[in-house]
Symmetry: C2
Subunit: 152 residues, 2 copies
DNA sequence: GGTGAAATCTACCTAGG
DNA sequence: CCTAGGTAGATTTCACC
């Protein structure tokens, strides 16, 4: 039920590249392919591995602008919160949203084609939302360390 | 060279689940497995797909605390920036780092086992760094929309 | 767009502690 | 009796037609 060093190495390897075969994993962990495959199946079944995803290149898809937005709510009713959360889940350009401690109520992570699209999102979607009081956009200038694996 | 609607559907599907076979993709796109596989190979070769990764469950790994930190630099020399960037790439609990427009110089995304570990990072690593002036931690209270696929 | 060889996965079987 | 290693059938991939 607990993770031994081999499990951690296996998880780290699959975070970097999920196309590694049981043979590859066995080589890396000094065990037989059977054992490595069995371990992977166990880690999947126990829920350590949430899924296998393709990672895309934002630039190649015309998503030139990444941004973070801090959103402050005007009123903190339950209904407002539900509405806002539903909106974030509907908009595909919002690729992450969190509620945080501190002054801002929400942090949004956005991918857009250009600055105009970002502005449209703010002016047409966020600011018109009844519960939203203030939005502060912060555009990403450089990805210093983008989307690294979890520390296992 | 440009992406047609089938390409976009294929990329969206692989973002959700990269274990889909050429047959599965063919079924979803109403084309033969050969064609679907060929398209995938083309999108990989052209660089639209950066890689295939396993997504892990942070909670299962004992990573109970997610946080964002806004870091303000004391001095903006080239050397300071390089040092700081190297530090972020070294620390595994820093899973993302960006330079932003606005008052803060860096935004860091962190995964830690607990609040004590987070505090240790701030006190032992970030604040002692010669270039760092101020750090503002914002703990994630709720993941409203965590790590969604890119909008394709 | 289809076909077939090569590789991979997975369930089952056998051996050893 | 339980765990590790190996094996074979089914599935998938990929180069070629």
């Amino acid at each position: 039920m607990t993770l031994d060093p081999a499990d951690l190495k296996l998880l780290a390897a699959l975070q970097r590249d999920s196309t590694l075969t049981a043979q590859d994993l066995g080589d890396a962990l000094n065990m037989s392919p059977s054992q490595a495959g069995r371990r992977r199946q166990r880690l999947e079944a126990e829920g350590y591995i949430a899924g296998y995803r393709a990672t895309l290149n934002p630039e190649m898809l015309g998503l030139a602008v990444e941004a973070f937005m801090q959103v402050v709510m005007a009123t903190h009713t339950e209904q407002n919160a539900r509405d806002f959360v539903r909106m974030t889940r509907t908009r595909p350009e919002i690729v992450g949203a969190w509620t945080l401690t501190g002054e801002a109520d929400y942090l949004l992570r956005i991918y857009c084609a250009n600055l105009a699209a970002l502005n449209t999102l703010v002016q047409q979607v966020l600011l018109p939302h009844p519960a939203v009081s203030r939005v502060q956009s912060q555009i990403v200038m450089e990805r210093v360390k983008p989307d690294a694996p979890l520390p296992v």
